[in-house]
Structures are given as structure tokens and as C-alpha cells.
Symmetry: D2
Amino acid sequence: MIRLNCDYSEGAHINILNKLIETNMEQTPGYGEDIYCKQAAALIKDLCKQEKADIHFLVGGTQANLTIIPAALRPHQCVICADSGHINVHETGAIEACGHKVIGLDSKDGKITAKQISAFYHNHHDDETHEHITQPKMVYISNPTELGTIYYKKELEEISKVCRDHGLYLFMDGARLGYGLCAEDNDLDLSDIARLCDVFYIGGTKVGALFGEAVVITSDALKEDFRYIIKQKGGLLAKGRLLGIQFTELFKDGLYFKLASHANRLAVMIKNAFTEKGCSFLVDSCTNLPIHIVKELMLRIVQFVFVQAGLQKKKMSCSFWMM
Amino acid sequence: MIRLNCDYSEGAHINILNKLIETNMEQTPGYGEDIYCKQAAALIKDLCKQEKADIHFLVGGTQANLTIIPAALRPHQCVICADSGHINVHETGAIEACGHKVIGLDSKDGKITAKQISAFYHNHHDDETHEHITQPKMVYISNPTELGTIYYKKELEEISKVCRDHGLYLFMDGARLGYGLCAEDNDLDLSDIARLCDVFYIGGTKVGALFGEAVVITSDALKEDFRYIIKQKGGLLAKGRLLGIQFTELFKDGLYFKLASHANRLAVMIKNAFTEKGCSFLVDSCTNLPIHIVKELMLRIVQFVFVQAGLQKKKMSCSFWMM
Amino acid sequence: MIRLNCDYSEGAHINILNKLIETNMEQTPGYGEDIYCKQAAALIKDLCKQEKADIHFLVGGTQANLTIIPAALRPHQCVICADSGHINVHETGAIEACGHKVIGLDSKDGKITAKQISAFYHNHHDDETHEHITQPKMVYISNPTELGTIYYKKELEEISKVCRDHGLYLFMDGARLGYGLCAEDNDLDLSDIARLCDVFYIGGTKVGALFGEAVVITSDALKEDFRYIIKQKGGLLAKGRLLGIQFTELFKDGLYFKLASHANRLAVMIKNAFTEKGCSFLVDSCTNLPIHIVKELMLRIVQFVFVQAGLQKKKMSCSFWMM
Amino acid sequence: MIRLNCDYSEGAHINILNKLIETNMEQTPGYGEDIYCKQAAALIKDLCKQEKADIHFLVGGTQANLTIIPAALRPHQCVICADSGHINVHETGAIEACGHKVIGLDSKDGKITAKQISAFYHNHHDDETHEHITQPKMVYISNPTELGTIYYKKELEEISKVCRDHGLYLFMDGARLGYGLCAEDNDLDLSDIARLCDVFYIGGTKVGALFGEAVVITSDALKEDFRYIIKQKGGLLAKGRLLGIQFTELFKDGLYFKLASHANRLAVMIKNAFTEKGCSFLVDSCTNLPIHIVKELMLRIVQFVFVQAGLQKKKMSCSFWMM
């Protein structure tokens, strides 16, 4: 049996498990105020070149989104994103459950543009009846997007400029950020993202960790009282050091990037194999397709191939990120 | 340096870590639909003697509370609890953030009584202006309570009867349930609790796990669509098997109860030592004090003693649950 | 100066004001439990041929929407409507502020079809990951729609059947219902609507009242505790008889329908005048255009004409509903 | 039949109704942007000696509370008040439904003190685990209180100072403000209140209007985008001029104060009559008892007297505010 369905099929990189055993009997404070969280935060701040950033560790991506967005918005404000954005379609209305409308802008490749954002902003404020309409205040982008595409530096700079000109917070969902940063044609690094966004997170769950998302807040306006809101939303992990330990392992020797690159490499191999067989892809522009979208597309293709070959019951699987 | 401050200072029982390593490269579906979650659910259903119960695994206690309560209530309904109830004082308004008032009833020992519940219910419905007041619909009790006291079978039966007579859901927060079940004078077991409550959870985080709470829903009215709400509240762990693996380890050979008993035993030792020295306790009735309250009280006492002895900087710690 | 901009430019039909003066010194209970609310409710139940319906009187349309929808839905459930639906675009996220996603289906004429609803329902439940997506539970339609079109009996019957087959509540926003019921090609009456919908409201504010919407609940599932939710949402008018008095006046001799017909008649006159001049309309199918959309379109046309004629500053106005 | 139960038993002062008829056919913009709302706002700003205040007109008190409080608070913040505060006990959880905990401080006379507020504030921030507890950010006081007592200038100055020192918003619910301002021993006027509070409202519903509360915002921090939030909460009255007309009538020649004084005068007469008969009152300190509490107490007393006299069915009523 070979599974090819999702990053969530396995455990974690062995270094992480070993470190959990090594540190198991140590005693530390709870709720993320331990030495490992501090170490991980320092590593991330260095990579981001943002010594004043606030770093918080959460368990999962939906939890990160439903903590960050309500922390930033007043009741009448909404968040805008691509219509394929995870918060718009795949979180069971988590953001609306916190009181805020999510507005999806048309997108073919999972991305939105500075021009769209600016038009949406002006469309709102030029409307005489704008008090009857939710007010855009935050822009949510995923990188890589839910379709596997990535934002390039020029695009992100333009989006960032529009957001700052219009007083909009820019928030990047980086649940799959490793794959994006290690994509062949990527030209962004963590310090670019930290400089251009107000808040973003670095996903661990999909890149070698048992679980964990590292939230990086660079905007002072978004820093205040953030831990209160983590607690309120159920995200303050009691044994918080579990997150610190994992992110320290992922970032101390570049393990995070090695795992993501490895995954991308295997993805490209698969993609090429299928392209040679004449399969075309949903999103043409993804010349250096991050792994997750390959997996999703591949799964469908493979199932199709198997059915054709009369192998309907068999399943394939491959674990990309586990080196 | 000796820490005596909290269950959250350390990792997990070693069996759990070993099992995580052993299963690390296995491939399973995500989101709690794996074989380990099924195994753990089966073990728990057996212990509860409730084959038709629904079992869900969540990461933490606040998350469990903010998922269960909104899943059960309509907008105008409230939950009632002891004024010291965790949801009332120590979750940063998590329940209110989901739209519901928490009403704390007077309590000296952390417990509430069937009589109080009945009086509150009638007081509401007898009020001519009751439409102007939140309607009681759920009763929340913690066992052990936040003060370390426990509910006895007769008390729980009375509460359960009042709740069923009045159409109130009965919900037990069992974040520390192991300590309660293993307390010397406890007369409840999991099957009693499952029979008498509509929903409760069994805390793993404080009894040997890295994290995890097992929610047991016995009321059919509360079962429908529960996983949607877990997802909406950010509680659907991607690599959900981590929870299944932990609870399987805790329950397959009674490890959970061994750990809790051990902790209680050490607690009593400490308590006795202090009682001999003439220290009295906040809650007199706690003849068999669960560990957590001992820890909290002890910490203060120890600090006091140390200050007296000129040892202000020194800290003590002891890990009770790790056999 | 002639204003042509909105129904909200003036006061109320004189009968209503006279009745307010006549009853001013009478003493009645507050909060809608007076004799006038009972009279108005009886009149409406008769017209609806629904003796068991619950009738509630609210001040405005957004208030009605934000009371009815949260009263019906559990946290993970959403309401679906035309993308032009008032709740989707023009209520500052009032429904999301109560925790629920609003999903707009594609619509060119402001209407949605039974087929669209059924497809959306099946699309949701056929998705293996549907627990990650808000669950459709209520269908919201406006009649007349925000574009001035109306639902015909056959359409409403089909929608009602799909909703009942799939366990979806059907809710009609009737803020402009009078215009719809009196449109030339309308074939629905209040008893059809009451029979086919689970809940709807009859707008007074746009048809001769100072303010007021009469909510009609025919579904038993939606009746329970509704007044609690009205109070919670700020909609329980202290001197509730003001609503009862107005709706009694509107319905006791058919005044409501006379006012709406008069408005429609004038609207058609204007429309014809413009059509003769060669103006075409946004929504072609509106052969019997309700007044509000005429007003909106006319305003733009008139402004255009005036600008052409160098009369930029002048404004036109006409009050249609005041006979 | 004599009713003595509530201010809500009757209509409005006749000047208001006459003005509604007089202006009925005038055409104005909707949603409170008409000339009458501007006039009323100007009158109120003059009385408050706050030319820069923002004035908004809402229909009712619960609506005002559920608009003002969420407009001011971030998700983790709570509002504190006397345990008898209207928002705490008599609005069906309206504030919690917007996501915020209401914390009632002990109070015997319906009032809270600067000392209590300061202690509560420090208690929160001194707690090492304060991130697990809702953060106090707004103080809500009612004047007169729900028990009929009033705040004196010295008390309000002390409360205001504590609030400003600690960064807490001070909000006065003035649903019954007229009675307070016209109480015999009152030493506050509107300009004091405007100077000392960040936001408050002047109740019209209980002092001669059909309905209406005038919100006065003096704090710049609370002004931004307030109309968006009114709309979201369902409080933006379509024919908003109805509110402007009523408040213009109430304030243009001091009618508001005449009505309130008259009511107080009658209240004192009743109170004296009962005191002479040996009845004692719930709140001893209310030497100049505002009418509403007299009514409430009287009702009970009268009923008691009637029962004693074998007159159980008879009801008394008197309309105090209608001169």
C-alpha cells in the first residue's frame, strides 16, 4: 500500500522525537515561557532579521488564523483574500465564528494582486453607503497558495506598499511556507517576508514537525496583548515547550529548509514523470510546483491511472519530507 | 533547584514517547480518522460501558470547553457553574467570546449542589421577565474541582437527576479527572460519570500525556456534527493520531490510573508532612487531596518556609506523576 | 428641489400618525405584549391563513435578519442567498458578527433557483472534507429582490420543496414585500408565502409605516424562545405597541396593499416615460418593476439627464407611497 | 384600573407627536443624516459644552449598550459594572453575545466606587496569570442606577480619574438620566458628565419620547467608524429623522428636564405618602428617589396593600412624566 495523499500521514523528523526524549524529565515553566521557546524565537528573529518581532508558537494553522485575524480587527472590519483562500473555504467558518466577514476576490491561480486590493479598497471607501458594508482592514495571502503557486518579491512588495498606503494589515498564512521558500524560482526569504508583512506564520506541521506554527508579528499595532487572545481561542499549549523544542530543532541547523527542498525535489521528479506521460496540470504556471499541490494532483492522476489499469484498490504513498 | 509549581513542567510518560517513535514512519489518515484514535476510543468506550458514546480527542482543556459549550447552546442560553469554575475565571472569556454568558454560583469548596441548580432554574423560569435574562441550559462542573475537592456518587446522581428533570445538559470538565478517580475516598468510576453526564472529558495533559483531552459524548442531542465545530474552533489536530497513540498508551494497561494514584500518594505524603508541622489548608474537607491543589498550596507554603529560613532564591520541584 | 432617492425620505401614512395620537394616553403593557400587537398579529395570521404562526414585530430589516438567522443556526452552519442578497452585501457583516458565514450564489437577476440550492447542498455533503466547510442550513431569499425582480409561485414551490427535502430552513426577507405582492405579474399571496416558507417578514418601513417589520414564523422548530433572542439582539421595543398600532392600521382595511399598488403604478408610469425616451434598464425582465428599483435606476438616469442638460445641481423627488 | 408599573405604558409627550405630523410630508435623507438629527445633535452638544462630541441617535437602551461596548473593546477585554448593572442581569446576555465578559462588582446600592475599580484593575494586572483572565478595559455605570440611586459629582470625578489613570473607558448608561439630573440632591449636569465620561447616553424612551437614546461620544478613541457598528448591530434607523425630531423637541425648550422634574415630584409625593404609613424602602439612602424605582417599589407595596384590603384584582396606574 502506497499513500500519496497528504503531509499529515506520518509523524515527525526523528531529530525532533529524539530531542523530546532527551528533554523529557527537565522541568520548565508552562504556557510557552520556557527556555526552548525562547531559543526558537531567537533563531526565527535572526532569520527574519527582526530583533523586535514578537514570536508566538501555536499548534495548528486554523488556530493561527482564528487568533491573528480577530486580534487585528474591530467588529465592522473584514479580511480580504483570494476566493480559494483557506480561511474562505476550508475552516468551517472559523473567522466568521469570531465575527468577521471574509471576502474572496476572484483568483485563477490562488493569488491576488496589489491592483485588486487597491481597487477593492477604493471601491469601498468611494461608496456613499460604505457604512452599510464591511470595511476592509486586513489582507490575507497564503504562500504557497492553496493551488501551489508562490508570490514573487516584486508582487509582495507591491502588495505591501498598497497595504501600507491604505492602512491595511498584511497577513501571510505560511502553513506551507517551507515549500515556497525552497521552490526553484522563489526569490523571497524570511527577512523579506518579515519586512513586507505585518504578521505571518511559519508552518511546522507540514515540514517535519509533529505540529506547530510559529507566528511572527512585526507590526507594533498587532503585538499588544496577543497572548490573552491565544488563551481565549484555546491555543495556549500547557506544555508549551513542545513547540519550542520542535522549532529549535527545525531551525538550528537549517533542517527546515533541507526538508522542504527534499520534498520539492521529489515533487518535481513526480511531476516530470507524469508530464512525460502526457498529463497536464491544473495550474499551468507552476513551473516549480511545491510538493503539496503535486501530491494533491498526483493523487487524482494516480487514481485515474490505477483505475485505467484495473488496480482500483491499490493505493500509493510516498513520504517526501522525511529525509 | 526544586520546582513544585505545576503539572506542566515536564514531558510525558516514557511509554508514550517510545510509542511515538515506534509508529513514526507509519502512514495513516489525518484529522483523527486513524487506527490509533479508533483504538483509544474503543478502550474508553469499554471503560465507560457506553458502546454508543462518541469519542473525540482534543489538544487542551480550554479548547474542549470552548468547543463543547457552544456546540450545545442556542444564542440566548448560558452555562452555570461554581464561581470558581475554570470557564468562569481562567480562560480569558473563551466562552463569552463564543457568545454565551457564564454564571458562577456561590461555592466555598468549588462544588455546586443539585439544590442550587434547581433553585437557579426555577428562579429563572418563575421570573415574569425571564426573556430579558439568559436562559440556563447547561451545568458545568469540574471534577476534581479547581480547589481539589471531588464529587461523590450521591451528589452527582442528584445533580444528574435535576438536570434531566429540567432539560439541562450536564457537562463535567475532567482535565484532572485521573486524580479524582484515584482519590482515596472517591466512589465514582468512568461508567458512573458516563451514565450521569451528557458530556465530559478525560484529561491527559495533567496525567502523563504530552497533551490531550478525550471528550466523551453520551447524549445523542450533543453528538450531531461535533467534528464541524471542532474544526471551526481550531481543534482538529492535523496529525490526529498523536492523540490516539497517547490515549491508547494511557488506557491499554491502566497506566492512567497508576500515574494518578502515584501522584495522589505523593501528595498525601507532602500534605501529611506539612500538617505535622502545623500548616492548615485552604479547603478543610479535602481529606484526600488530589495532587494539583497540593502543589499549589505547597508552593506557597514552601516559599513561605524558605523565606523564613533565608532561602528566598531557592526553588523546589518534584514530579509526581512520572513513575 | 425634487428628491427621487429612497422610500426613507418621508414619514408615515397619516392614518398611522392619527392613531398614535388617538391612543397616546392609553396605558398598556410594554415589550409587545399589548392589545395592539395582538390585534395586528391576528390580522396577519388571518391573511396568512396560519392560525398557529408566531408573529413578532421588529423595528427594522437588518434587525430582523440578525435575529432570525442566529436563532435558527448552530455555530457551524451557514445561510445561502443570491450574491446580491442584502445580508451578503449591505448589512456591514451583521450575520457574520453573529458567527455565521453568508454564502452568495451567482445570480444575474437577484434570484436563486431550486436547482442551485440543491446543487450547493449536494456539493457540500458529497465532499469528503465537508467537516472543514460551513454546512448549509438556511436559504435566504428577498422578495422582491434587491434588483426589483419577484419570485413566482412555481419558483417558490420548487425552492420550498428542495429546502424541505434537504432539511434547510427557507427564510424570505420581505422588507419590500408589499411591492412584490402588488406587482402586475405577481401570483403569490401571503398565504402561499406562509405555507412555503419557514419564516418571513412583512416590511412596514417601506410601505407607509414610520418603521416596523412583522416577522411570521410558521416552522415549529423556529418558534422556541424567539423573544429571548429579540431581546438579546436589542430588538425588543420598550413601547412595543407602536408596532402593533402601525401594523393594525396597515392591515385592517387593506391599506398596505393600496399603498404598495399606488407606488407600483407610479413606478410604471415613470418607467414607461423613460422607456419612451429610449432608456434601457439594468434588469430587462422586470416588466412590472417595483418602485424601489425604479427609484434607484431613475435617480441615476435623471442625474445623467440633468448633467446632459447642464442642470447638475437640481434634484428631483417624488413620494410614491403616500397616497 | 390604575397602572403603576412602568414608564413604558404610554405614548409620548404631545409636542413630539404634533411635530411628527407637522413634518410628515417633508423629504429628508435617511439613516440619521437629516436636518433634524443635526439640530438635535447641536442642542445636545451645547448642553454638554462639547462642540467636538459625536452624537448618534439609537432606538433603545440595550441596542445602545450592545453597540457602544463592542465598539470599544478588543476580544479579550471585559466591561466591569455593579452586579445589579442592566448589562449584567437584564439584557439576555447581549454583551456576551458580542463576545465580551461582563463582570459584576459587589454593590448594595447599585453604585460602584473608584476604589473598587482601582482594586479590580490592580488585582488583574498584578496576577501573574493575567493572560488567562479577561482584561478590564471599560467601566459601565448607570445613572440613576437600577436601584434608583444617583452618582454625585465627587464620586464621578474620582471614578473618572481612576479610569483615566488606568486607561479604562468610562461609559454611563443614562437610560433614566433625566430623573437623575432632576433629582433633588443631584449635583451633576450634562457638561460634567460629558467632561468626566468617555461615552454616555441620554434616554428619551423613559422621558417623554416614543423611543430614542442619544449617544454622546467625547473620547476621540471611541469615535472612529461608529456608524458602521450601529449598522452592523441593526441600530441604524431607516427614517432616522424620527429620532432627530424627538430629541429636538425634548431639548429645544428644556422639555426634557420639565418632564423629569415632574416625574420626580410625583414620585416623592407617593414616597412620602407611603413613608407616613410606615412603609420602609429597599434602598435607604434614596432621599430623592427617581420615579422608576418608586414605581417599582410602589407596585409591590400597592399590591401588598390591596391584597390586605381584599382588592386583589384592582390595579393602580399613574403616568408621571406626561405633564
